[in-house]
């Protein structure tokens, strides 16, 4: 039964109810219920269809006598038919049973025994004019009170407004949901800053980043965000943000440290995008914060290890290297770094290295520890890998208990966090590396840092090992060279009386040997002399080699005429019978004197060696020796026409122990040309060979008239020559 004009109170109450609803179904139910009540209609059907949605898939609400019912499909179709008319008229539609579309009325007869009589319907229209649904009332009898006329459209209007609002709210909710899901998926912390109100809204991984729990969105003032920034970074970041805001920049980026809830520091990369008004004033900033701590940590670790390794391999002084490496550690991954070295023979601590940015403090701690080196407690745990993330009283007590000196040390160091690893090599522990952080860097070590300490300790151990091995090798080499030196001296000593005596014997042959035996005796004496000379040469080569290697090849230059020297050497070979034996004629081509300041003995050695080789490999064919000058250099050339040297061997023959022919064939240590080259180069000159197999060889030596004044030249690296212990050859430039 109609209830007459609705009271203002009722209307307001309906409106109040609507305002509280955000669900379209509830809105329809509330509206239908009110309409039904006001119109006295038995049936009320509300329909709401979203854009693009088919009518059947839309929202349909049916109230029968005020009670919600399931909507049968016929009713939906009936409502659709009515809706079409509403779409055409865009205004209220009244239908009577008599003469009305029977299908519609039939469809709306939803109750058994119910016969729809009159239908009053209004469209649900959005402010934009879009038709989003309809409101339909049906009565059993033919009359609908005139109420339906003025009130139904208003109810429809209210409903439309409420539905639009609900739509907006749903969209906003969806956006928020999307944002939350996005925030959940990304590891970044999202923030939204309202510049004028200075409020910052956080979402996403900010909780994880800071190390909390719960997924609640946190609202902070901007200052709240900066409260957690590392004191050393705060000003810089604030200034940078202010600059970006004030300028026309559309984006901003910064890297800084944020304090986590547990007190540790996270390195974050903060990026923001500004929204600006037309006049350029920024009113909003949206940003994301990414925890790059791990990336940073790894990058810094790599950098640190690279620098530490450089320090460890810098010089031959292992102690110095370890100190340098410790300092590198104390300037990057730690505040203090100590390296304890054990004596390998006794496993007792023998030395401690302490590094800190402040050298004076480091020295004090080192002094204290050194004084207590005998303290067995210091060595304890050297083979244990330790991690103390947060140093507390119990740790302090344990340390002091094991070594009393630690009380003083702890007082100076005040550790926050500690990490140590043993230096292990070849199965033994040779020391330990300890990294300590304090309030200076505010860093705390965690499990992830164990690898760092282990890596550092291992590199120190390897460097330490290498140094030991190197020293051993050096020792062995020194011993060898000393022995070579002594050996060759000893070998040479008996050669003097040997040669002299042989000389005397051969002088005395005419006197003491029978005439017909003199040749026989002379020949045999000759053999003895040659062997003696050979011994002499071998001993000299040995001595030279040890000197050259040890960098003790000292040149004593004096005024020398190369031309005269060559003539003298050739003469000696001739006198001694070498030329006759080799059946080689030696032609000496020398012109004017070729003067220079050279070590006479060494120069003779070069000439002798080259001539000796020419005779050896010359196959009896003539040998040409010449001395000249060219481009201000003295040039000596020795050319034979013997077997020649294969191009592949031409470089090799200058190597130590190298020979281009078989050992058994021509004898000697194979050191001759090596020594020649060393001497020539030490004099600032060079030696070249030109040869082809079967066509002899020409060796050409070029020397500057005096050794160039630059500091000793290193011989250029060549395969086969020893360089591990090579040091520059010296020129004493001795006065004469």
């Amino acid at each position: 039964m109609p209830s007459g004009e609705p009271s203002l109170h009722r209307v307001l109450e309906h409106a109040r109810q609507l305002l509280g609803l955000s669900n379209p179904a509830d809105i329809l139910v509330q509206t239908c219920g009110e309409a039904q009540h006001l119109a006295g209609a038995r049936i009320a059907l509300g329909s709401y269809v979203r854009p693009g949605q088919a009518w059947g898939a839309g929202l349909h609400v049916l109230l029968v006598d005020g009670e919600p019912r399931a909507v049968p499909p016929e009713a939906v179709s009936a409502a659709f038919a009515v809706h079409r008319r509403l779409a055409a008229t865009r205004g209220p539609v009244e239908l009577e049973r008599a003469g009305g579309p029977p299908g519609v009325f039939a469809g709306l007869s939803v109750e058994p025994g119910f016969q729809a009589g009159a239908i009053r319907a209004v469209p649900l229209l959005q402010r934009t004019g879009r038709l989003v649904g309809s409101l339909l009332l049906a009565s059993a009898g033919p009359e609908m009170p005139a109420l339906s006329a003025p009130v139904l459209p208003e109810l429809a209007e209210l409903a439309s407004a409420a539905l639009a609002s609900a739509e907006r709210l749903a969209a906003a909710r969806r956006d928020q949901e999307r944002l939350m899901l996005l925030a959940e998926v990304t590891e970044e912390a999202l923030w939204d800053w309202n510049v004028s109100s200075n409020e910052v809204w956080w979402a996403g991984g900010i909780q994880e980043l800071l190390g909390g729990d719960g997924r609640d969105v946190v609202h902070h003032e901007l200052d709240g965000k900066f409260a957690r920034v590392h004191p050393a970074d705060g000003d810089r970041v604030r200034a940078s943000l202010a600059r970006a805001l004030a300028s026309m920049a559309s984006s901003w980026k910064a890297e800084y440290r944020l304090r986590r809830r547990d007190g540790s520091w996270a390195v974050v990369e903060d990026r923001a995008h500004f929204l600006r008004e037309a006049d350029g004033r920024a009113y909003r900033a949206i940003g994301s914060l990414r925890d790059v701590s791990e990336e940073k940590r790894l990058a810094l670790e790599q950098q640190f290890l690279a620098r530490a390794t450089t320090a460890l391999t810098e010089s031959l002084d292992i102690d110095r290297n370890l100190e340098k490496a410790a300092l590198v550690a104390a300037s990057s991954v730690a505040d203090w770094c100590t390296i304890l070295l054990l004596d390998p023979r006794t496993d007792e601590p023998r030395k401690v290295i302490v590094a800190h940015r402040d050298g004076a403090r480091a020295a004090r701690v080192r002094g204290a520890l050194e004084a207590a080196l005998g303290d067995a407690g210091l060595g304890i745990g050297a083979d244990v890998q330790q991690l103390v993330p947060l140093f507390g009283d119990e740790h302090a007590r344990a340390l002091v208990a094991s070594a009393p000196v630690m009380a003083e040390v702890l007082g100076e160091v005040a550790p926050r966090s500690l990490l140590s690893a043993p230096m292990r090599t070849a199965g033994r522990v040779v020391g330990a590396v300890t990294l300590v952080t304090t309030e200076e860097s505010m860093r705390s070590y965690g499990e992830a840092d164990r690898a760092l300490a282990h890596e550092l300790a291992q590199r120190c151990a390897i460097a330490f090992d290498n140094a030991s091995l190197f020293e051993e090798a050096q020792s062995a080499i020194r011993a060898r060279d000393e022995f070579l030196s002594i050996a060759s001296h000893e070998l040479k000593t008996p050669l003097t009386p040997l040669e002299l005596q042989l000389h005397t014997l051969s002088e005395k042959i005419p006197e003491y040997a029978k005439a017909d035996k003199q040749d026989w005796v002379a020949k045999r004496l000759g053999r003895l002399r040659r062997q003696g000379q050979r011994l002499n040469r071998l001993a000299s080569e040995l001595l030279d080699i040890s000197r050259i290697i040890g960098g003790r090849l000292q040149l004593e230059p004096e005024q020398v005429d190369l031309a005269e020297l060559v003539r003298a050497v050739v003469a000696e070979f001739r006198d001694e019978g070498a030329l006759a034996r080799a059946q080689s004629r030696v032609s000496v081509e020398v012109g004017a004197p070729v003067l220079g300041r050279w070590d006479r003995m060494r120069l003779e050695q070069v000439v002798t060696n080259l001539l000796s080789n020419a005779l050896k490999y010359g196959a009896g064919k003539p040998i040409a020796v010449s001395v000249s000058t060219a481009d201000g250099l003295a040039v000596l050339s020795v050319e034979d026409q013997g077997m020649g040297i294969d191009p592949d061997d031409q470089e090799r023959i200058f190597g130590r122990f190298e020979r281009a022919v078989s050992v058994h064939h021509f004898g000697g240590f194979g050191l001759g040309l090596f020594i020649v080259r060393q001497i020539v180069e030490a004099m600032g000159g060079d030696i070249q060979v030109a040869s082809s197999p079967g066509e002899g060889a020409r060796f050409t030596v070029r020397l500057p008239p005096r050794r160039p004044p630059e500091t000793a030249r290193e011989p250029a690296p060549r395969p086969g020559t020893e360089h591990a212990a090579a040091r520059p050859l010296g020129d004493t430039g001795g006065p004469r």
Binding site: T493, T496, E499, Q501, T504, E507, E572, G734, P735
Partner: protein
């Protein structure tokens, strides 16, 4: 001038003898001493040699010490000295103007020095 002789100072018996022999074969008179101390005693006896062949490494008084002493005594200072040694590095300061030969030296070179002074 007193009759020239060559003084050979060396601790090695064989070197003294073979060197003496070789020099005598060449026509020179030779006296020998096993170390610097004996050489000084010998020189004190009067006749001065025309040349001293001096080994450096000797017991009791080595070549350097002998040379120092020789240079301190005006009557001995002017006697020319040929120093012989197997060791390559010779202390320049203590040898002064003497010739240096390295063992084993060729007789020819020694003879060159001998002929120059005797």
């Amino acid at each position: 001038m007193s009759s020239p002789y060559i003084l050979v100072v060396d601790d090695d018996d064989d070197i003294r003898e073979t060197l003496s022999e070789a020099l005598e074969l060449a026509g020179y008179a030779v006296k020998t001493a096993p170390h610097g101390g004996e050489a000084l005693s010998l020189l004190a006896e009067g006749e001065k040699p025309c040349l001293i062949v001096l080994d450096l490494m000797m017991p009791v008084m080595d070549g350097y010490a002998f040379r120092e002493e020789q240079l301190r005594r005006p009557e001995l200072a002017s006697i020319p000295v040929v120093m012989v040694t197997a060791s390559r590095s010779v202390r320049e300061a203590s040898t002064g103007a003497a010739t240096v030969l390295f063992k084993p030296f060729s007789l020819g070179r020694l003879m060159a020095a001998v002929e120059q002074h005797c």
